[in-house]
């Protein structure tokens, strides 16, 4: 049961990865790609790590730390990239 | 490792990524693009080391190889790939619209060689020339208006001239005079900067010495031949 649930989480994460990374190849603006990358790299990776957490519960402190740092770093990185790639023009 | 039969399948595919990233890095010409690709290479290398079981090597690659190396290289590239051009503060280069075409052209020109242009302002011609001699700047740019000629300092031959020598400029010629001390920059400027934009001279050239002695006509002729045959 837990095993199936973990596979579901990992597959959802993989779907997020592919859906969010695919627009990188297009010719949209940096910020638009950043939106889809936040789906892929933050939420998708978090889903994958949760799936791993369900598989190996005894490594939970490590994986929870990974989960937290994924959420914080990727979000802050999204903000920094958005801030740096747009020039100040006010 | 005991699970080599399982791992072999994906291991080979992951291994291919490293030479791929390295090839991408090697064919980059712009230093900043290369830095970004270096980061990608570092991430892929850390993945491979970790997958092969070298946890310590992977950690070192991520922390030192990627983070520290990129930081140091970024600082080095940013502080070295720059051309410092000395100008006079009285001419208000930054705010004057008159300067814009020349500066834009220079930026585009230097951009092709991945150089940045940095303007350094000096109060008078004396300090400007001093800065060029002491290698504070790579070149100077002066305006020589047809009516009022620019004064060149002649500190090395004070006895010969009581009054400072002047450079008269033909109205057909460009009003800008760029003096460079770096041979490679001089080469680039003389081949790619059209003479209507600015005249280019190298520091310590015969032309400049002639200018100093006050022989005006030969000096200009020298300068124009210099710009043409290089």
């Amino acid at each position: 049961m837990i095993n199936i649930l973990s596979y579901v989480c990992i597959v959802i994460g993989l779907v997020f990865w592919f859906w969010g990374t695919w627009p990188l190849l297009g010719s949209r603006s940096v910020l638009f790609k950043l939106h889809s990358l936040s789906v892929a790299d933050t939420l998708g990776s978090m889903a994958i790590v949760v799936g791993l957490l369900l598989r190996i519960p005894h490594e939970w402190p490590l994986l929870v730390l990974g989960l937290i740092s994924l959420a914080i770093w990727n979000t802050v990185l999204g903000y920094v990239l958005a801030y740096c790639s747009t020039q100040e023009d006010s | 490792m005991s699970h080599s039969a399982i791992t072999d399948n994906y291991l080979y595919v992951i291994m291919v990524l490293l030479p791929l990233a390295a090839l991408m890095l090697v064919i980059q010409t712009s230093p900043y693009q290369a830095l970004v690709i270096r980061g990608i290479l570092g991430a892929v290398a850390a993945l491979i080391y970790a997958v092969l079981g070298g946890a310590d090597v992977a950690l070192t690659e991520a922390l030192v190889g990627t983070m520290l190396a990129i930081t140091l290289y970024a600082v080095a590239v940013r502080s070295s790939l720059v051309m410092r051009l000395g100008v006079l503060s009285g001419e208000e280069v930054r705010s004057n619209l008159h300067w814009r075409p020349l500066l834009n052209y220079l930026r585009a020109l230097l951009n092709r060689y991945h150089l940045r242009l940095e303007l350094v302002t000096y109060d008078d011609v004396q300090t400007l020339h001093q800065a060029l001699q002491t290698k504070d700047v790579h070149g100077t740019c002066l305006v020589c208006r047809p009516a009022e000629a620019v004064q060149l300092p002649d500190d090395d031959r004070p006895a010969q001239h009581s009054n400072p020598s002047t450079v008269p400029v033909d109205t057909l010629e460009s009003p800008y005079l760029i003096t460079l001390r770096v041979p490679r920059l001089y080469e680039i400027f003389t081949t790619e900067l059209p003479p209507v934009m600015a005249q280019v001279k190298a520091l310590g050239d015969d032309g400049l010495d002639d200018l100093r002695t006050g022989d005006r006509q030969p000096a200009l002729a020298d300068a124009s031949t210099l710009t043409e045959d290089d």
């Binding site: 603006s29 950043l34 789906v39 | -």
Partner: protein
């Protein structure tokens, strides 16, 4: 009050990283957490902190909901709006606000202006009128 939160954060990271609850480890963790330098900051009220932390917990399912929404119904149009920040926020609370807005996939904070405004970049299904 927010100083305790700071200490708590450090201890949480320490114990998650070491995964060891022996007395020696607890002692080391507490000592290091107290000895590490702390920036001088004016902490917001505890109520603000608790509410923002609650919002962080709520934001996770909301982010997944938004992700599914933009996957199923494509949002093609981009727009930049300017939002008002809540008044009298300490810098760390502003950071949490920016984190919350950027964490959800539809919105990204582009820039924070000093007067308490966020420039938010968001994607929409229809072009703005």
């Amino acid at each position: 009050m927010a100083g305790y939160l700071n200490l708590l954060l450090r201890l949480a990271i320490w114990f998650l990283l070491t995964a060891d609850l022996s007395w020696a480890n607890i002692l080391i963790g507490v000592t290091v957490a107290i000895l590490l330098p702390r920036g001088v900051s004016n902490p917001g009220t505890l109520k603000d902190w608790l509410r923002t932390l609650g919002e962080v917990v709520v934001a996770i399912p909301q982010a997944y909901a938004e992700a599914f929404e933009i996957m199923l119904r494509p949002h093609r149009y981009e727009v930049v709006t300017v939002d008002r920040a809540k008044p009298r926020r300490s810098p760390s609370l502003i950071f949490l606000d920016i984190f919350l807005i950027t964490f959800t996939p539809k919105t990204i904070v582009q820039r924070y202006r000093e007067q308490g405004w966020y420039e938010v970049h968001r994607i929409q299904r229809r072009p703005t009128q």
